[in-house]
Amino acid sequence: MIYASMSEWFGRVGYFGLTLLIVTVYGLLVGALIERIIAKVQGRVGIPYSQPFINIAKTFFKRTAVSHGIMFYLGPVFRIAGGIGTLAFIPVIYGSEMFSNFSMAGDLFLVIYFMFFGQLGMALGAGESGHPYSAIGIARGLSQMTAYEVPFALAVISIVIQYDTLSITEIVAAQQGGWQNWTVITNWVATLAAMLAFLGMTGYSPFDIFLAPQEIPIGPPTEFHSAYLSFLQINRALFGATKLVLFMNLFFGGATGWVELMIKTLLIYMVAIVVGVAFPRFRVDQGIRFFFKIPTLIGIMSIVYVQMVLA
């Protein structure tokens, strides 16, 4: 994208900072809300809404921190760069100059790359910590990621063919004018494949084997503590909310205001939560097999569907 002047560029960066703040705070609040919902299912009260913020402050104010090397430092930095980078290219509010971020032609590709980037950086960082459980967690996480990326990529290809564009803004624009234009109605096959992949992405059960606190302490972040951990906590909220915004944009018609955004993303998130509280955990091989079977098939079908039915 070409900017008319330096000041316009700076203005854009400022607006992006604001978006970043709103999305992160929203992500943390939604995290707390979800914890409370899960607690209610288990007959508990659950954490206060302020808890995620206090946790971040606490880990940030730890007095000591040990390092295992350069990559260990860079792991959380890459992770949060992945989160920020993903958000940077997603238009958050449709039709708003302020909150469309650095959206441009072809941003969908970039976003999918950035989603990968953070995970890989984290894998390198956690790998250097030298903890065997981190290594097991990474192996599980990356193999599961490889598996759910397949149906997700197929679904994305399907809607790219459908709308004939690689720009998220244009995809959202094509879905305006009422719910009957949303991808979830016009191309429900792709949405189904993507929502199944979404279950793997959010890391709730049945696909939470890579975090498995009972057997491999927390998985990849086992060794991360103090300020490193506060970065990871912030990114968890930011990246989670960003993924929701992306799904909302691609499949549920985007949002023209913050309230609409919050309602839609919360409902999308509830899909993962309802499945999560209802189902036990898959072993990693079962999870991978699951993604390579039905969701991948649905993904392929979605491409056929676009070519045969919608074309």
Partner: protein, 210 residues
């Protein structure tokens, strides 16, 4: 941590062979001062008190009392308390009952890997005075000879309410800035280490587990 082996501020690590010594950090821990701005320190203490992560490591029978706290009846997550499976991320170590010499070694390793400020709650009579194992050949009688304890809960075994009350009191203490067991440990490290080595005969780990 730096692998500087020439500096004076190092631990001997004499329990390790020469080869193994190269694998471990031998720096000596230093006490940490509070933030110089009082408001920052107060805020940090408030955050620490309201987000206590308990290391999931049960040492004796008393630790069975932790489970009811997590579930619907008492639900300590209301108070910002959560379990953490890794010592790196946790800030409270609940010594759940009797400590055998073998377990003591693991407790020391885990405690030293925790990042400060860190707190210890000794649960049950056993860590306080030996309890019903006072004349056992392989349990220690007085836990605070080996690691600094911030809060005792006596009873055999104490009710979950008692533990909950202790945690609440610990929170108040942390907010007031009185809980610096980690600093006490580091300041008197030689004394603690001597006590530890008196009971742990096969000391085959670094002197301080970073």
């Amino acid at each position: 941590m730096s692998k500087d082996r020439s500096s004076k501020n190092t631990m001997e690590n004499s329990g390790l062979s020469a080869d193994e010594q190269l694998l471990f950090c031998n720096a000596r821990p230093e006490p940490y001062k509070p933030y110089s701005i009082k408001a920052v320190e107060d805020f940090a203490n408030w955050a620490r008190a309201n987000s206590l992560w308990i290391l999931a490591f049960g040492t004796g029978c008393c630790s069975i009392e932790l489970r009811p706290l997590m579930t619907a009846r008492f639900d300590i997550s209301r108070f910002g308390i959560a379990g953490r499976p890794t010592p790196r991320q946790s800030s409270v170590f609940i010594i759940g009952g009797y400590v055998s010499v073998k377990t003591l070694k693991r407790i020391i390793r885990s405690y030293e890997q925790m990042q400060g400020p860190k707190f210890i709650i000794a649960l049950g009579s056993c860590p306080a005075n030996g309890g019903m194992y006072f004349d056992s050949y392989n349990t220690i009688n007085q836990f605070d000879l080996y690691l600094p304890v911030d809060m005792y809960v006596t009873g055999c075994m104490p009710r979950p309410e008692a533990l909950l009350a202790a945690i609440m009191e610990l929170k108040e203490d942390i907010k007031a800035g009185n809980c610096d067991g980690a600093n006490r440990y580091v300041e008197n490290l030689d004394w603690y280490k001597a006590n530890q080595k008196k009971v742990i005969k096969n000391w085959d780990m670094p002197d301080y587990n970073w």
